[in-house]
């Protein structure tokens, strides 16, 4: 079977999100195992040049859907055009990122096309010609191995897990514009208002460094401290549920079972006890630092490095010391 592996890309402000390169790299490896091509599908507006850059990551052909109506994500429009493109391109595997957009879009495509979808995967391989994936379940308490029984197969990939392989620096792919008529009337809902987020310049789920605060921060005013440290490190601020429930921080910053699942290179937990539901969201972090005044706090059992102490004292000291070293 020569049907290709296909990735659906995601861009923001005219650049691909890093997770796009992660799924391209994963897709390349699956395509190699199957001996087939890797193709990409990008949806947006004026994105041809951008799509051509995917050659660097081993994409053989790029397809774009470029239309007034696809400039911003609308679930019904995207589902309509992508499902038609999938029917034409006949991929055997479809990969896309498990971002906010991907989580909303994925099941719509799966339903429309009647395809099995495995969400939020952390490992993918080919066994006997079919896709086998691993995905965290029960809030990460176990990892389930899932085997596909039918083709096509669709999987969303958790950001920050898969390594990026920039195979051919400077390589460009051929870009083919898929010219599909788009009928506005497929929209079953309309966005009546959009409020842009004030905080967090970096997305939590894609941040390489997260500075998270819990009830030990004592009050919303003290999060300045964490914002400062996060800014210095180019990271994002996260929060425990306790402080979100207390309205110190927005829900969009909550990490954990009922919040976001994150896997940054560095997670600094400040005044967070380490409840099982919090750990569910962050124990996939590559390196965990905990700052807590209670030496018996469960977070220390999961942390690579701990400092027993008062956050009000340790966090500013950490920021000052890092600022000094980074400026050197």
């Amino acid at each position: 079977m020569s049907n290709p592996v296909m990735i659906i890309t995601e861009q923001r402000h005219d650049v691909f999100r890093n997770v796009t390169f992660e799924i391209a790299s994963c897709g390349r490896s699956l395509a190699d195992q199957l001996g087939v091509d890797l193709i990409s599908l990008s949806i947006g507006k004026e994105i041809e040049r951008l799509a051509s850059e995917l050659g660097e990551y081993g994409v053989n052909r790029s397809y774009v859907i470029d239309h007034e109506l696809t400039e911003h994500y609308h679930p019904d429009i995207f589902t309509d055009v992508i499902s038609r493109a999938v029917t034409t391109l006949e991929p055997q595997i479809i990969l896309f990122p498990a971002t906010g957009l991907g989580k909303d879009l994925g099941p719509r495509l799966a339903g429309r096309l009647n395809i099995g979808l495995a969400t939020d995967c952390v490992k993918l391989e080919i066994r006997e010609g079919k896709l086998v994936v691993a995905r965290p379940m029960y809030a990460g308490k176990v990892i389930g191995e899932h085997q596909f029984r039918a083709i096509p197969q669709m999987a969303s990939l958790r950001p920050n897990i898969f390594p990026v392989n920039r195979l051919h620096a400077g390589a460009k792919t051929n870009v083919e514009v898929i010219d599909l008529p788009i009928d506005e009337s497929v929209r079953k809902s309309i966005v009546t208002e959009f409020i842009s987020a004030l905080s967090s310049k970096v997305d939590l789920t894609e941040a390489k460094i997260i500075v998270a605060g819990g009830r030990g921060m004592k009050g919303p005013e003290n999060y300045k401290m964490l914002e400062e440290l996060a800014d210095l490190l180019g990271g994002a601020v996260g929060a425990s549920r306790a402080v979100v429930d207390a309205d110190w921080r927005p829900h969009s910053e909550q990490v954990g079972q009922t919040g976001k699942t994150v896997s940054p290179d560095l997670y600094i937990a400040c005044g967070i006890s380490g409840a099982i539901q919090h750990l569910a969201g962050m124990s996939g972090s590559k390196c965990i630092v905990a700052i807590n005044k209670d030496p018996d706090a469960p977070i220390f059992e999961k942390a690579d490095y701990g400092i027993v102490g008062d956050v009000m004292e340790v966090v500013p000291a950490l920021t000052a010391e890092l600022r000094q070293r980074l400026s050197k």
Binding site: L117, P136, S189, I190, L266, C287
Partner: protein, 250 residues
């Protein structure tokens, strides 16, 4: 108005999940079963709509699952739902098979709102609500944190990575509940007593073959952890050294 809430019974989030020795399945012997927390938000929202209504709204809860899952229906009834349906299925189904089975039942229903949790906290698939909406060709908004009904339309709020949006759609509509939508009530004793008396409509389900099967489980790699660098701000230089030289994050 007819409101339907699809609910699932799941393991309590506090429960330690243990695998059977062959790691092919989850050992369910010690599990404390609860109503999926996100479904609780959906049930609560239905109740609030009903409380604001004219008294002629009916809330029906539906679950697919074995006998034990009747308890989840009873929890929803105790909160105040009016009717309950259980589709009797023993096996673990994938999302698509689950959705198709729900669709079989929902096809013959008149409803205005069809509510789901955003995700079941056992399989963590976050798919079934949207799949059902697709199959029924209904408008669907996921992960909502606010809901307002107004003259045959519903407007909901969704939190995004980059902000929040308000979305409006006609009825009937499918919505999936995110944390923040409301604060679910605890059932009153009277509710619990009444729920015991209500009957559960039991139906036979014939599921499609799953396209995805779970073939085994593993525990996540243990984090070693546990290295206390020191006390107070004196420990900061050593922490930075370790992050640089050992963990290599800077």
């Amino acid at each position: 108005m007819n409101i339907i809430v699809c609910i699932k019974q799941v393991a309590d989030t506090e429960t330690r999940i243990r695998l059977t020795p062959d790691k092919k399945t989850i050992d369910t012997s010690d599990i404390n079963w609860i109503l999926n927390p996100y479904d609780e938000f959906a049930v609560e929202e239905a109740l609030r709509i009903k409380e604001k209504g004219q008294g002629n709204d009916i809330i029906t809860v539906i679950t697919i699952g074995p006998e034990r899952t009747t308890a989840a229906l009873r929890s929803a009834l105790a909160m105040g739902a009016d009717e309950a349906i259980r589709i009797d299925v023993e096996d673990n189904l994938d999302s698509l098979a689950t959705a198709n089975l729900l669709v079989d039942v929902l096809k013959n229903f008149e409803f205005d709102l069809l509510l789901f949790g955003k995700q079941a906290v056992d399989d963590d698939n976050a798919q079934v609500g949207t799949l059902v909406a697709e199959k029924l060709d209904l408008p669907c908004v996921t992960v909502i944190t606010e809901l307002k009904l107004d003259q045959g339309k519903v407007t909901v709020k969704r939190e995004l990575e980059v902000g929040a949006e308000f979305i409006s759609t006609s009825l009937p509509a499918v919505l999936t509940a995110e944390k923040g939508l409301n604060e679910p009530r605890y059932p009153a004793l009277r509710g619990i007593m009444m729920a015991k008396k209500k009957s559960v409509d039991l139906r036979e389900g014939k599921a499609d073959e799953s396209k995805i099967v779970v073939t085994g489980y593993q525990y996540p790699p243990e984090r070693k952890g546990g290295k206390i660098v020191g006390k107070g701000q004196e420990a900061v230089p050593e922490l930075i050294r370790l992050l640089r030289e050992e963990a290599k994050v800077f």
